[in-house]
Symmetry: C2
Subunit: 344 residues, 2 copies
């Protein structure tokens, strides 16, 4: 006699019938509206419990105009950086009762804006994580995506907070560190060309080169994963550099593994640095010198900003810039020449 509704699931109407009240009253009770007679309220609650009634979130969303869900668009879910952001975001959002819907663009930038739009329509807000789309495209769709928070990208559109990591400064710190160790020939193993963070690193290196005219910096093409690093061994050796700035920790790990296979000692023969300080970086042998990015914190902060937007609160800090922290471990050491000079 119970499941009368078409879907087979029990709905508010079933509870109403069972409790002998209107479904409006059931709704009131379920939402803690205290204008309901306590006696009736408890009768409704009993009926709901007995039927194991759980409100249908879709109906609820339609009526309330909100979904209690946010979306995140990432270029590549396999990347530990984005995983960490997702984790931080998901965790922070969950604490406020929000769920997160994920959309992986698989690095195809043309899909990104469609994906973002679709995700946005199902959610109350969106986090766009290191989008690969062009600036023009971003500017165009940004208004339609509001509430929107950007990570590692900025826009001229007002009301769009963006959290960016100062990769330029980070790479300068790393280069500085290598120079202090006596390295005069450096190489930068670049990331994906469309990545904005790669652009920031390149810019940082320009600044660095201007400040250190005597240091030679070779640019090498690359990517963002292990294999990139592993395959770059030849190019790196060819460059004659003794201090290698890898795009990120993954690339650095791939490179170190490749160097190890060739019998090249790190940091004895060559110093290698990463970027990001993913959890694994501490446990490589040798442990990886890197620039630590407070990445889960970034995810949390993204939620804070988005929440403020959703709640239409005054946004105190419409954006933030994160400074990476130099993390010196054992993959970087004195340059050969310098060491020889000291020892002999």
């Amino acid at each position: 006699m119970v499941r009368k509704s078409a879907t087979g699931r029990i709905g508010i109407a079933d509870v109403a019938v069972k409790a002998g009240v209107s479904h409006a009253t059931v709704s009131r009770v379920m939402n803690g509206n205290y204008t309901v007679d306590p006696e009736i309220a408890s009768r409704v609650r009993a009926a709901a419990a007995e039927l194991k009634y759980q409100p249908n979130p879709v109906g609820r969303s339609l009526a309330l105009g909100k979904t209690d869900t946010i979306g995140i668009v990432v270029p590549d879910l396999a990347n530990p950086t984005f995983q960490a952001i997702l984790r931080g975001l998901s965790r922070a959002a969950a604490q406020d009762g929000y769920r997160v819907l994920i959309a992986d663009s698989f690095e195809v930038s043309s899909e990104e804006s469609i994906l973002a739009g679709e995700a946005r329509r199902r959610c109350d807000g969106l986090v766009l994580c290191a989008p690969r789309m062009t600036d023009a495209e971003l500017e165009e769709i940004a208004p339609s995506l509001h509430p929107l928070v950007l990570i590692n990208r900025t826009t001229a559109t007002t009301g769009v907070p963006s959290l960016v990591v100062d990769y330029g400064q980070g790479v300068q710190d790393l280069a500085e560190h290598l120079v202090e160790l006596g390295h005069t020939r450096l190489a930068f193993l670049a990331g994906p060309p469309r990545s904005a963070s790669n652009g920031m690193r390149l810019q940082g290196l320009e600044t660095f080169k201007a400040a250190h005219p005597h240091v030679d910096v070779t640019m090498l093409e690359g990517g963002s994963d292990f294999d990139t690093g592993h395959e770059a061994v030849d190019a790196v050796l060819e460059s004659g550099a003794t201090g290698i700035l890898a795009f990120n920790d993954l690339v650095a790990m791939g490179l170190m593994s490749g160097l190890h296979e060739r019998g090249i000692d790190v940091p004895g023969d060559m110093s290698v640095t990463g970027f990001d300080d993913i959890p694994f970086a501490k446990y490589t042998t040798p442990a990886l010198t890197t620039a630590a990015v407070p990445i889960t914190e970034l995810g949390e902060q993204a939620w804070r900003q988005l929440r403020a937007l959703i709640r239409k609160e005054e946004n105190d800090a419409p954006g933030s810039r994160y400074q990476p922290r130099l993390e010196v471990r054992s993959s970087s050491g004195p340059a050969r020449a310098a060491r020889t000079a000291v020892h002999g």
Copy 2:
């Protein structure tokens, strides 16, 4: 004159007005119903395009009774294994036009069933990944979660496919491998107590012990992350074992890092094996011997099964068992005694 609807967003009604037809007709056109006069259809399409109309998915979901979204519940989003499953699932689902909603239980098993229920109600189906809840609890909620696919867990409830990795066999293979290298004292660094996969490993080891009465296997308490492995160094050394079976690759990496700090050579003094073959395993020094689990494939397969359930197709393979593949790398080598015998 456009945005007349309360939400501010343009809806089907706006398009209807602009095209001078009823909103029913607009709906028909948008859904490719060919009973509409081509002239009218194109007028509607023009209006829709001009207004940049995009159907509201929530209203759509309510009317159609489906959300084109699936949910996944994981115990810990920080775990690379679950990340890989999520990735495989998300990717496979995306190809069929489904999105995925994530729910992280943060290893608190009491929250799991509530989380699962909530997620399920917003979605068309659910993947429960290595749930930590008790068997009784699982049996109880499983029917209400249908369509449901389990990973690394089984249930008596009918119509619930489960994909399980044969951890028991995998750990036996690894132990076998170590014994062949001459190790006679092994230690197992266990995982989280509530983890079903840990139970499977323990069971596998029992079988192994029965088959190899002369081999000594010490059981050590543990966990599932780096730190567990790192902190277990003392216990491992104390055990006197020369072949260590770590719960997974993460634990193995932590352990190797700790052993390295103590100046203990792997595999010279001690052999270490992991489990899972996460991408990082290839790049540790020494490269990690492990049991490879086709984990992204697992995620994909989970989607296939779930899709079949959603579409109410006949399910040809209501569940599958995955055999890990022994991946011998350089973290395992001949036992000291055996090596001495050979060399001297």
